[in-house]
Symmetry: C2
Subunit: 446 residues, 2 copies
């Protein structure tokens, strides 16, 4: 996002309108549309904004974009003061404390809001962090790095590669843990990607986000970040995990395994849930408690291995009644190497898709099946549909999330171009993404 430059990010009609009233970022603006009036501080826009909206920060703390039309009346009602944010000096570092690297990729958590304008800017210098969350000084020595400033919906497999490399570089320099600050929209995908790309980890890598920015009274940024730093500094496990609010109140942080976590609410602070698994740990009152005995133990002597390549020729296709099977054909024709079908129930798609699936498999494309139910396990032995799909060559993904399976296949096909080896890896549990079961467990419905 932009800084505090004069009318930064505005263009076209919006820019002209603001120039006409001689407004600058930070000025108090009043906009009247019909019988509605909005009053707030003019804030900068991103370079990708359109040319029709003016964005102001209301007194309530909310930002609102108001479209400029011929009927809109816009006035400057107050002059903004120039910002004067000076980072405080670094607190004295206690050399006895563990060292934690914080790598910022962007998103709400990684930003510091200018309280005057609401402009969000990357703010992960160590001194910025200590000034926002002073209690960090009691937990760890912080080494802060800004890797990128990307809204997480814009994260792609290339960013996963960069994150993996940056994390392993810090680990090789001897930190006791890594925290990656990330936007929440795709945090689950990135955590899964890092879970596969970072192998043989000696220390934990904790991905953390926040649902509300630090200028909101209800922000979860500070608690999530301090929980993540605590987990990175002191946890007994050495895996990729995600640290987010466990409940809506500020009492505890859940630590989710990176391959099992999913954003399950658009806005709540406890939006993140482990699916088909329990969180592996919990942070409460500055104490971390493990919730499972099944984890990779921390061992600083272990050498990390980074396998950062991903192949983007992997598709996730969600099934629905009437899905056009030609969508499957299209992916095959366009060089896709693998398709994850997000089927119904125990792992089904309509039989009108069978031919397309058959053709994909015949052309050496891996076709795998997850369930759009999210919870539960794919079982393709119960009904004819499942058995037929398996006979066509479809691979059941057990209790793996469709999102994680998609990331896993991108990673697998970044490591090997041998289809049989890829299928073997897909069925092998690599980072806690799938669990085995007894052949006739109680979840089978028939």
């Amino acid at each position: 996002m932009s800084g505090n430059e004069e009318l930064s990010g505005y263009k076209g009609l919006a820019l002209e309108t603001l120039k006409k009233i001689e407004a600058e970022i930070g000025d108090l603006i009043r906009i009247t549309k019909g019988n509605q009036t909005y009053e707030g501080i003019l804030i900068p826009r991103s370079e990708y904004g359109d040319d029709k909206h003016v964005v102001i920060k209301l007194r309530s703390g909310y930002n609102i974009g108001v479209q400029i039309t011929p009927e809109t009346c816009i006035e400057k009602v107050g002059k903004g003061e120039k910002p004067a944010f000076v980072a405080p000096p670094l607190p004295e570092q206690n050399p006895a404390l563990p060292k934690v690297a914080i790598i910022s990729t962007g998103g709400t958590i990684a930003s510091r809001v200018d309280y005057r304008t609401g402009a969000v800017r990357p703010a992960l210098s160590a001194s910025d962090l200590y000034s926002v969350i002073p209690e960090l000084a009691n937990v760890a020595r912080i080494d802060a790095q800004i890797l990128s400033s990307v809204l997480s919906e814009n994260i792609t497999p290339t960013h996963w590669m960069e994150m993996a490399k940056a994390a392993v570089k810090k680990i090789e320099k001897g930190v006791d843990g890594v925290v990656i600050a990330h936007g929440t929209d795709t945090i689950g995908y990135s955590a899964a990607a890092l879970s596969f790309a970072l192998q043989n980890l000696p220390v934990p890598v904790i991905v953390v986000g926040s649902q509300r920015s630090a200028d909101r009274p209800s922000s979860d940024a500070a608690l999530n970040l301090s929980g993540a730093v605590l987990a990175a500094a002191k946890s007994p496990f050495a895996e990729v995990a995600v640290a987010m609010h466990e409940t809506v109140s500020d009492t505890s942080i859940a630590i989710h395994r990176g391959t099992r976590v999913r954003k399950c609410h658009t806005s709540r602070r406890d939006a993140f849930k482990s699916v088909n698994a329990q969180p592996i740990a919990k942070v409460e009152n500055n104490n971390l408690t493990m919730l499972t005995e099944d984890y990779r133990k921390r061992d600083p002597a272990r050498k990390p291995i980074v396998k950062p390549n991903f192949n983007e020729k992997v598709a996730l296709i969600k099934f629905y009644p009437g899905l056009n099977p030609a969508v499957i054909n299209w992916h095959v024709e366009n060089g896709y190497k693998a398709i994850v079908l997000e089927g119904t129930g125990l792992g089904h798609v309509g039989k009108y898709c069978f031919n397309a699936v058959k053709e994909a498999v015949e052309k050496n494309v891996i076709v795998a099946m997850a369930s759009q139910c999210l919870w539960g396990r794919v079982n393709m032995n119960v009904y004819d549909t499942g058995r037929d799909l398996q006979a066509l060559g479809v691979i059941p993904l057990e209790d793996m999330l469709a999102e994680t399976a998609t990331v896993k296949l991108m990673w697998i096909l970044g490591q090997t171009s041998d289809t049989e080896e890829a299928k073997r890896l897909l069925k092998t549990n690599i980072a806690g993404e799938l669990s085995q079961r007894t052949p006739y467990e109680e979840t089978s419905p028939q």
Copy 2:
């Protein structure tokens, strides 16, 4: 599914192998593969089965498909008895009871299992039903109709049309409520479709399924069906709803609004959840309790209106990091009229999709945004990504499920080819599928 004919459904290698040992459906079979042995009753296969698997019902009650390979040893170890199922006579009908039509479309709930072979066959004659669930005779007079016998993953919009017409025909004949028995995989989609297609309902239409077939001790079929019949016969509401187990125990049935319900577990009996809403009613100890005051009241004098047309040129596309925007272009080029994007978080897709979205909108394709979080509300005013997508013409779907939105657009475009009218209908609450909100509610994260 097939009946009890000799080797029904078997073909190719499987058929040859079974003929060689002179096996018939119902015989006790032993199959040995390496050091694993499976013993059970030979059961019929569906016409869509492959030619490689033999399916037996194990003593545990589970069916298993075993692939025949050169290494497989198969023996007949016992002769089956011929089935002798005779439906009991109809109980005396009490003319004072409400009349309920049960329309069977297929799926586990709509079937009766031959206990000897495990073969599942449509079994919805009134006398069959009374013999399986005798307590129905105290609740309602049943009028049973077999409309189809389709596994629900094979249901398409054409089936929705047939269901809507069949239901309204029964209503016009004066029943006090309609129950539609349906496979669970796509019950949410069909319930949403009926919610839009059946307007001005005088009496309730209850869609019901079961997660376990009636031959399993843990079956939920009887309780779900009797709950559905009770709701159809006596509930004070006149809407389309889904009746399924509220919890894993046999204590209560939740009645979900048809546009808000989703299968959220592959196999549990309490798999169905209302999303962004509460169930509208609950059945416990043969009593129905309303859980909301916001519902359409039963009124037998009202005339139902059926609007059964659906347009299949509507796509649901789930976003993931690295989604190829050419998939969006492909749908536009292939005559699609609307696309529901299942975006991340508050309703986002990567900016690398913006051009494709822009082109779709310019070609008069409706592009609408739901969230893959499932829970919560799309809010495209918070971040630049959302504002930009709205500026490109993307319609936020508020708190509507992506699945429901897809069905709604199929229905809307079955009613009108006027894009502006279609957009207006999309944003209008028709059957409880979306709720309004205050402009700055607490769910906004920034």
